[in-house]
Amino acid sequence: MKKKKSIKYIIGDIVGLMTCFFVFIVPFIFMLVNALKDRREANRLSLALPEMPQWQNFVEVFKTGDYQILTAFKNSIILTAFSVLGLVVFSAMAGYVIQRRKDRTTKIVNTLVMAGLMIPAAILPTIWVMQTVHLYKTMPGMILVEIALQTPFTIMLYRGFMSTIPIELEEAAYIDGCTPFSVFRKIIFPLLKPVTATVVILDAVTIFNDFTNPLYFFPGKENLTVQVTLYNFMGQFSSSYNMLFADVLIITVPMLVIFLIFNQKIVDGMVAGSVKG
């Protein structure tokens, strides 16, 4: 009986790994081998190994359009870093108050935020607003829009985590004469560290991989982000798949590195976040 069970699990292992391999790994191998082929070979779109690995494809991609991919990386990194910074600070403060104080103001705020989780952005009026305050096509404007759009999700995570922090700590600090802000800064914010890690990873991946919003709110030759460059490459290199896949790889690598470093943290963090959310 026992033996039969363990054989069943081994078969499960094998079938599971094979399915994983064909469904999730093969597309990735496909990108990799084709990024290393020359043009003629890559356009056959096969899974065969390259005859001669063409490492210069990657150099080529960087050189394209006067090193525009470097500009794009710079923009994407600035956009991601500042948006995530803003989101962490603003949403932690809001989530803290929404969870601790239950009155009419926080109820209204909470309802608006939850509605924001579902409703998509009204795109053209957003551009109109940005233009009115002279932030359209600027980096600060783009950062503010990303913050606004990710705020509901981020507040939700912080609010959920706040409920696990005992209120007695704050009360003690007040009796000792701390100001509301220093209580938050010195006591609450350090305790929020686990959820902050989740927020940083999830928001960074979302914003770095965002294509739609930069397409609308950050157009212009100087204002490229990596996803928009990738999309432009699609038109430019429609007949040289090797360049296209080399670009795909270059853009995926930063996320892959994050994934390899934080592998378990990401999955655990998401599990924790979704349970409490």
């Binding site: 699990y9 053209l124 009026p125 759009l149 509301p180």
Partner: protein, 285 residues
């Protein structure tokens, strides 16, 4: 000390200002602008013309149908597949950690990159997918070029990419179920399906609800995958609400584009909010 002073409203101010100016205000403005012919310099009121146009023109109306189809199908497929994958990955198999990581992986690849890769895999004459079909003696399919199939090909790709999140939410839900329920059920001689029906499904209800809502709303809003795989084509076969909003914007019909946005709000308000109510009411604590 009073709560209002300790938990000062100033803490809410920064996020609420940004959220109001760049999300709520545009949303309210869209109700007005959807009834005008406008550009960023001026507007002219035109009543409900934009909405009438939206429902009259086939090329616009198809977006509503496609968006709904897309949302329902991706939602159902992700729910069912993710449930069984999660069940498998919470069982006693040995390689579950590595398999979980592999399943999570597509989540990190950007949607545009996924779109490019799958368009290549679905290439009608050279694509790997058709090569496999030929190998087992079947005729190849024009995955993205056939108007009847294209939308479903994009939906399948969306499921491939979105499966990871749904699976992780399910794993969390299934792991939090008290093991003693299963022990008691085994004692009473309940078989696998009975345990599934009586314990796992009802007790992972809240994960199920999150997945339904997340993927349904995500499906209604979907844009980048469709845009990078088919651009709405062939013809208008894969146009969804979000791609129509973009096309009308690119063509300079700002009023129509904004009306598309408002229709999306209405669809979400009419379907998603009651759906959420319904799902929450069914949840067992």
């Amino acid at each position: 000390m009073n709560k209002k002073k300790i938990y000062s409203s100033w803490f809410l101010a920064p996020s609420m200002i940004v959220f109001s100016v760049f999300f709520l205000l545009p949303m309210v403005l869209s109700l007005f602008f959807s009834m005008t012919v406008w550009n960023f310099n001026g507007f002219e009121f035109c009543g409900f013309d934009n909405f009438i146009m939206f429902f009259k023109e086939d090329s616009l109306r198809i977006g509503i149908r496609n968006s709904l189809l897309y949302a329902v199908l991706t939602c159902v497929l992700k729910l069912v597949l993710a449930f069984f994958i999660a069940l498998f990955l919470t069982s006693k198999i040995k390689t579950k950690t590595i398999q979980r990581s592999i399943v999570f992986f597509p989540n990190l690849v950007s949607t545009v990159a996924v779109g490019i890769t799958f368009s290549a895999l679905m290439h009608p004459s050279k694509g790997l997918l058709n090569k496999c079909l030929e190998f087992i003696g079947l005729n190849g399919v024009d995955w993205l070029g056939n108007t009847k199939i294209a939308l479903f090909s994009v939906i399948a790709t969306d499921v491939w990419k979105g499966l990871s999140i749904a699976t992780i939410i399910f794993i969390a839900g299934i792991q939090s179920i008290d093991k003693t329920y299963y022990e008691a059920a085994m004692m009473d001689g309940a078989n696998f399906w009975q345990r599934l029906k009586a314990i796992t499904i009802p007790l992972s209800r809240s994960s199920m609800n999150s997945i339904i809502l997340l993927s349904f709303i995500g499906g209604l809003r979907s844009f980048d995958l469709i845009w990078s795989m088919t651009g709405g084509g062939p013809g208008f076969a894969t146009d969804v609400m979000a791609s129509i909003i973009y096309k009308q914007y690119a063509a300079g019909y700002y009023g129509l584009s904004t009306a598309g946005n408002v229709i999306m709000f209405v669809i979400i308000a009419v379907i998603a909010f009651p759906l959420q109510r319904f799902l929450l009411s069914k949840e067992v604590d």
